[in-house]
Amino acid sequence: MEMRLYLLQRISAIVMAPLVLGHIAVMIYAVQDGLTAEEILGRTQGSILWALFYGTFVVAVAVHAAIGLRTILHEWFGVGGVALNGFAGATCFGLLAMGLNAVAAVTVTP
């Protein structure tokens, strides 16, 4: 399992890196004419591309952060076994649920 978690964390980092750069680039581009909710939603609502972009990012973050926090909990607080994996699973699920909810909120056409 340690081997799989190691690979998952590295792969999720590789996925996140270009998405973070894309996100920052779009932010810089988007604020050029002022920052309004209408302008942002006008770009994202109904866009499958932005839903996929941020949806992928959320999945990568949920996987990456849950594995990292699992390691910290184990090394700093000595937590192990079912409690440790339960915490990691709940963290992953929580980030996934909140993140995908946010992605849906800005990309689904009302």
Partner: protein, 240 residues
Amino acid sequence: MSAPDSMQVSVWRGGPDGGRFQSFDVPRYESQTVLDVVAWIQQEADPTLSYRFACRVGMCGSCAMMVNGVPRWTCRTHVQKVLDADRIEIAPLRNLPIIKDLAANMDPFFEKWVQAGGVFEGTETRADSYAPIVHEDADRANADAGIECINCSVCYAACDTVAGNPEFLGPAALNRAWTLVNDAKDASRDRVLDAVSGKGGCHACHSMGNCQQYCPNGLNPLTAIAGLKRATARRALRGR
């Protein structure tokens, strides 16, 4: 300016259940090592002081201790180099159980060598001729870079990952594993890679590099561990 005649040495005294530092006034002389200081205290001030040493020339790896909070091979550490305002603090190696005073229990350190698959498994029998060693080969160069380890446990005491995760195999055991993975004469490559892929294996290393910084022989277990991570990851991606 001449050096002062003596120094204040704080030595940890106690056993597995705890202890305290005891101060000794130790005479200084030229080319004095930290091991000389400990030996002087035991021979001249308090014969009940326990510590471990053997060769006194940096070959056996027996005499490592914490000196001013840093793990060092005491037989090759000059007092002049570590003296801090005419004081030295000497304690047993970190991350290991204490037997008594300055003698740490090395059992967990060596048990992890075995857990990491550190036992050599030959490909030839005694009836075969010698296997040729080609030092120019990249694999052999990787093995050569790590084989001068003297098992002193300085890297293990320096490792913050071991401190946080007692299951972690540690730099020395993983360095040994990497030399075997790269040794054409060893038949156990897959067994070793399996051994370092489990809980506390090479993937638990945070690449902080204390091992490489403090290794008295100038080895780089950090590179060895990175090599193990790459080799195990490639194998896992191929579905093994």
